[in-house]
């Protein structure tokens, strides 16, 4: 029987590689389109709402989250993700997808222990690392601010 090391070499050689030219282009293109839609939403709000930039930004984020959640709910977002990869994961619509999809998946286990308990199963690490890094940045900002 072949040893593990030589087998790993055979596997490495035979394994098909990700077609990066195609996947990168798709991620860039579809991710770009999502961001363009976000910018368009921003511009429409800025044009028609009498609000400052901060409010318009928040409203844009909320709108995009709504679209992400809606497209997940009607079963379209996973099909976009099949082609886009990181292009549809990185924008805020992907964050919405990562929360809505487990909520849909686990509703059969009940509202509390299914939906509520498990809806952050995918997004949890993003939230934890986001909170931790914001604390770290806050401390650095404070120290730098005091020094200045």
């Amino acid at each position: 029987m072949i040893d593990a090391k030589s087998y790993a070499e055979i596997v490495k050689e035979a394994t098909p590689k990700t077609q990066e030219a195609r996947t990168l282009f798709a991620a860039f293109g579809i991710g770009g389109v999502i961001c363009m839609i976000g910018q368009a939403v921003f511009d429409v709000y800025a044009q028609f709402l009498n609000a400052d930039e901060k409010t318009v930004s928040a409203l844009t984020g909320m709108t995009m989250i709504f679209f992400g959640a809606l497209l997940t709910g009607v079963g379209v977002y996973d099909k976009i993700g099949y082609y886009a990869g990181a292009g549809s994961i990185v924008p805020i619509t992907g964050f919405a997808n990562s929360i809505v999809s487990p909520a849909m998946e686990f509703h059969n286990e009940g509202i509390v222990f299914g939906l509520m308990a498990r809806m952050f199963g995918v997004a949890g690490p993003i939230i934890v690392s986001g909170v931790c890094s914001s604390v770290a940045v806050g401390i650095i900002y404070y120290i730098v601010g005091v020094a200045a």
């Binding site: 029987m1 072949i2 040893d3 593990a4 087998y7 790993a8 055979i10 596997v11 035979a14 394994t15 098909p16 590689k17 990700t18 077609q19 996947t23 997940t72 709910g73 079963g75 977002y77 996973d78 099909k79 976009i80 993700g81 099949y82 082609y83 886009a84 990869g85 549809s88 994961i89 992907g94 997808n97 990562s98 809505v100 999809s101 487990p102 849909m104 998946e105 686990f106 059969n108 199963g121 995918v122």
Partner: protein, 335 residues
């Protein structure tokens, strides 16, 4: 009768008299579309959950077997089988609908091979009619091993698609008058682990186990690979099949010219199913819908069915464990 360290020839003939299968809509549009008995229209199939649907697959194929063989449930000595879900609930939940003793088995996607081998032992022990049934469902397996269905992820170049479907075979101690396949010999698998850790590349993880079992089977029966019209593995997929062929040639076991794989047979080109089908229902669906019919019609005389299993869990992968593989070889032949 023991033929070697892992291989046995049945002391009492065990005939595969009837088969039944059910498949998902993608599977029913694949290469086996002209052979599949019954296809469902959507994944949940009118049930409250995909798990319930998988359980219903098993109800349906078991009932169809009872009908086609004209047996009542009291005549069946045992239902053998399993699936991929925690605590094999689709199997046991389905078995509660029948007044038949139940033995749940688990060897991931190799469960069908394991069931046939155990059925042959049970026939030798004096039982007369046994149902072997394994099932899998794309949606239940995704949740079990991967991500929520609606999460927008991209499959890796080596991923395979879990087959939605089930196959059930009736094993009997006495055969019909007409031509009927029977279990000629079986080789129990050993766990083989060459250190593959990529849970998205199960073909590579299982190929060494398939190699080990096939080599043991041929060595212990004294048969050459050409004795069989086809050596058909369970769900290695295109990559695993290629790796297995390379291992068989490299070690001088055989030239792998009659090697095939159930996973590679299920889906057609262009169905976007990665390197092929996988799952506990993959080998049972392909055998029951397709290979059995070829054996009965005489297009095949002898096959070596080698269902392959990757014995990992989501947690074992996260804990960095490598993937143990297993394969059972069952010779099914018409005398």
């Amino acid at each position: 009768m023991r033929l070697g360290r892992q291989t046995y020839a049945p002391d009492k003939r065990a005939f595969v008299t009837h088969v039944a299968d059910i498949a998902g809509s993608d599977e029913a549009m694949g290469n086996l579309r002209h052979y599949i008995d019954f296809a469902i229209d959507c994944g949940e199939w009118g049930c409250a959950s995909h798990e319930k649907a998988e359980s219903k697959f098993r109800d349906v194929v078991t009932k169809r077997l009872l009908d086609s063989s004209g047996s009542s449930s009291r005549e069946i000595d045992c239902i053998l089988g399993g699936d991929l879900i925690n605590q094999i609930v689709p199997s046991s939940f389905s078995a509660r609908n029948f007044d038949i003793p139940f033995c749940g088995l688990y060897c991931a996607c190799a469960t069908f091979g394991q069931s046939l081998a155990v059925a042959s032992m049970m026939i030798a022990a004096g039982m007369d009619k046994i149902i072997c049934c394994t099932s899998s469902h794309f949606a239940t397996a995704e949740r079990q091993y991967r991500y929520p269905l609606e999460l927008g992820t991209q499959p890796t170049p080596t991923s395979q698609r879990t087959v939605t479907g089930a196959g059930a075979a009736m094993i009997e101690s006495s055969g019909p008058d007409h031509r009927c396949p029977e279990i000629g010999a079986y080789t129990l698998g050993k766990i083989v682990d060459l250190g593959c850790v990529d849970a998205n590349n199960m073909g590579a993880a299982m190929a060494p186990a398939a190699f080990d079992t096939i080599a043991a089977h041929l060595r212990e029966t004294g048969r050459s690979a050409n004795y069989y019209d086809m050596i058909v593995t369970g769900d290695l997929g295109a990559l695993g099949r290629e790796l297995l062929a390379e291992l068989l040639r490299k070690e001088g076991v055989c030239d792998a010219s009659n090697l095939n794989d159930c996973g590679c047979m299920v889906f057609a080109e262009g169905q976007k199913c990665g390197l092929g089908g996988s799952g506990a229902g993959c080998s049972s669906l392909v055998y029951c819908s397709y290979l059995h019919k070829l054996l009965v019609s005489g297009q095949l005389n002898r096959i070596l069915l080698v269902p392959t299993g990757a014995l990992l869990s989501k947690d074992s992968s996260l804990q960095g464990e490598s993937i143990p593989g297993i394969a059972y070889a069952v010779a099914i032949e018409c005398r």
